[in-house]
Amino acid sequence: MATAEKQKSDVMLDYLIPQKKFPSVWCPGCGNGIVMGAFIRAVDKLEYDRNDIAMVSGIGCTSRMPVYLDFNSLHTMHGRALAFATGVKFAQPKMKVVVITGDGDALAIGGNHFIHACRRNIDITCILINNHTYGMTGGQGSPTTPSDAISTTTPFGNVEKHFDPCDLAKSAGASYVARGTVYHYPQLEKIITAALEHKGFSLVEVISNCHTYYGRLNKKGDAPAMLDMFKDLSVTKAKAKNMEQEELENKFVIGKMHEDNVKTEFCDEYKKIIDKQKG
């Protein structure tokens, strides 16, 4: 983050796998591409060796991302990306492990793995792309679908309350929690850079657009209209302090939510035990 040099505009082309056929499989205007760009530029800014990065993903639209990138990648079962990533980190503690996951992948099917990865505070960066629906399988309601929103499984409005992944991760014990949107790109890149540098479990929730299912069923418009919607609905953390709880409903508080640099990290603690037993 300290490097003041301006990046080139074509830096991300160096990190794409050339044999893969572009354009990508995502819908036109999908926010996943913007998050992918932010992640690549963050890695380039930090000057990591690309052999030291492992990208782990589960199933879903977001989980197609490691396929296009020139890092070590692991494409695993639905929801189990964090469990596999824990194993990778445990076997290779020097490696930077990044988990790319979606809201249905991390919070519904992999909810248990998610809270226990937070609880252990293992040094993994988890980028959770939240598009409020299951995009790949046809727009079913996910744990983050807002109340009264229409999806293919809730055609008359969602009666459930939605999860707040940032609050969940914070209370489960994650040591870095932040939220960004695909509209606020410079902040998103800063958050991802800080999360990669942080030692401990870091969660970056990115509010993204699924105009193909969530946007079309709820009449939110196309991709540029949904990005404009994120601009209107986002509130910074400083502003949100002075706002009432009712005003903040259906809005996103963006920025760094929580950082704890004192909490011990899982791999370090385990290494201490190994050294102790060796005598």
């Binding site: 505009s9 991300m12 572009f22 036109p28 591409g33 760009g37 540029p224 990005l227």
Partner: protein, 88 residues
């Protein structure tokens, strides 16, 4: 002070240059890879100087290249990595 006033008066007589770059129809500010473009319209909607216009398929054409300030918004928000700068 007097020098700067004179300089500003001299600038007023010449046509005002909008930014430090000298873009024109032949010297385009951006390279657009149209074979990767999916015509999502994000660059056209988000450009603060409105240098793009959609063509028949909805893909961007640089119709007003002289207004480009190289603000980076179009290429960081392009989900398909089509847009790169010619100078950066």
């Amino acid at each position: 002070m007097s020098d700067s006033n004179q300089a500003s008066q001299q600038q007023d007589t010449t046509p005002k240059k909008k930014n430090k770059y000298d873009f024109s129809e032949t010297n385009k500010p951006l390279n657009i890879n149209l074979s990767w473009c999916k015509a999502c319209n994000i660059c056209i909607a988000m450009c603060p100087q409105q240098i793009f216009e959609p063509d028949r398929d909805g893909r961007p054409i640089q119709t007003r290249p002289e207004d480009c300030t190289q603000c980076t918004i179009c290429w960081v928000h392009c989900p398909d990595f089509c847009i790169t700068s010619t100078v950066k």
